[in-house]
Subunit: 252 residues, 2 copies
């Protein structure tokens, strides 16, 4: 199974610690990785068809404190589509003058939607087809970039139509919010004041966030499986869609 990681924060935050935890899980997920960072409206998207354990890009990300308020990362274990750069998540498109970044974990069976709009897959994965379809349907539903609430309502109508085709664990962001849809495995946690030391589950690594934060900072993390040992992660339910804004989860 692929591994997803999403971050949504009320202040630009660096995700090195959590990404290191995710990359450790790349041993069994050697078919590429990717990570997208929003900086305001701009996006840095790093993709590599190599494993996150050996990729020079992953090494850069683990040491370079990129500060972002929306991050989506993905470690791939190919189910559909060959191992190639164009099949590596997250995918990116532009809609209404905003970049959109999406990563998917799961497998959509016999999912070949009619893509009659402006979004076509470049690679040959079910995930990119699902992303193009979502973008097309969002574009049909709103004339210009709607509020986070309106977008959430539209996504709440669209996601079940993908979930019906199989497993659709997904993270999506347009730089304003992070949407998470769970089919099988997604967990979230909010880090806020008072911050405490936290240990990664898969690495002998411990960070005291109190030393790196201010009392106003708030960070929501979403991951396939809990990344840390000493935090209370909440499991999402099958079919649940949640939107994270300013580091806080909102039900949809």
């Amino acid at each position: 199974m692929c591994q997803l990681l999403g971050m949504n924060a009320n202040t630009p935050t660096n995700v090195m610690f959590s990404f290191t935890g995710l990359a450790t899980r790349a041993q069994e997920h050697k078919d590429g990785f990717g990570i997208g960072f929003f900086e305001d409206r701009g996006v840095r998207l790093f993709v590599d068809a190599q494993s996150a354990r050996s990729s020079p890009v992953a090494a850069l990300i683990k040491t370079w404190p990129i500060r972002s308020s929306q991050v989506i990362a993905h470690i791939r274990k190919a189910t559909q589509g060959q191992v190639a750069l164009e099949n590596t998540h997250p995918f990116q498109r532009e809609l209404w003058g905003r970049y959109w970044v999406m990563a998917h974990n799961g497998n959509l069976v016999d999912f070949h939607p009619r893509l009659h709009g402006a979004f076509r897959p470049v690679g040959d994965t079910d995930s990119e087809r699902a992303f193009c379809w979502l973008m097309q349907e969002l574009a049909k539903s709103h004339a210009s970039v709607p509020s986070v609430e309106e977008l959430s309502r539209t996504l709440a109508e669209l996601c079940p139509r993908l979930h019906r085709h199989g497993t659709f664990n997904m993270l999506l962001s347009n730089g304003q919010a992070l949407w998470a849809h769970c089919s099988t495995h997604l967990h979230w946690v909010v880090r806020e004041h008072p911050f405490r030391p936290v240990s990664l589950k898969d690495e002998d690594l411990r960070v005291d966030f109190a030393q790196h934060t201010t009392p106003h900072d708030r960070v929501a993390l979403v991951a396939t499986e809990p990344l840390t040992r000493d935090e209370a992660w909440t499991a999402m339910r099958p079919g649940e869609l949640r939107v994270f804004v300013e580091g806080l989860p909102r039900p949809v």
Copy 2:
């Protein structure tokens, strides 16, 4: 003035040497840099609002031999739009299931085209507006991805309409070919068998390409100003559009 660098090769080639030459020129062009590498249909796009002289991403690219057959790099000196990630070239969009990457050097005055199609700027530069307009007009001209020849003919009609608004030195690629349009400054050179040692103009750096190539390799480079001392670069004429395929220039 911004600096452009494009590469088109008949075999995946690493561009570290030429990028090092370009990055040296970043002293006066400190408003960000970016570089896009096609690997087949996939793209790696690195952008940074920092100078290419200090950016950790630029350091990675100078040491990591990414092999690509189409590369577009840009070092920015802001004329329109603030220094921000979303204003950093190259820009990327998807059309007909292919990624398109574009970088621009120049300044388009009073250029506010009617963008009624599926491509909207995320940032606020004349360059991204020009790219969105080009994508929109290409999308209107062809139903699906046309041949390089047909695309070249359409671009030959569209580029003069941008050139009319000011300086439009531009590099564009969809992974199949590299298009270069010159308003004021663009030079190209082809490296092919027999390969010889070459020295960078701006750095004390010399590479003997004979040691890194096979007799079949052919690489075309396009740059704002010649990057090397010992090669015969051809200056493009104002209004000239050229397409490079498999390392060879073709007139349009």
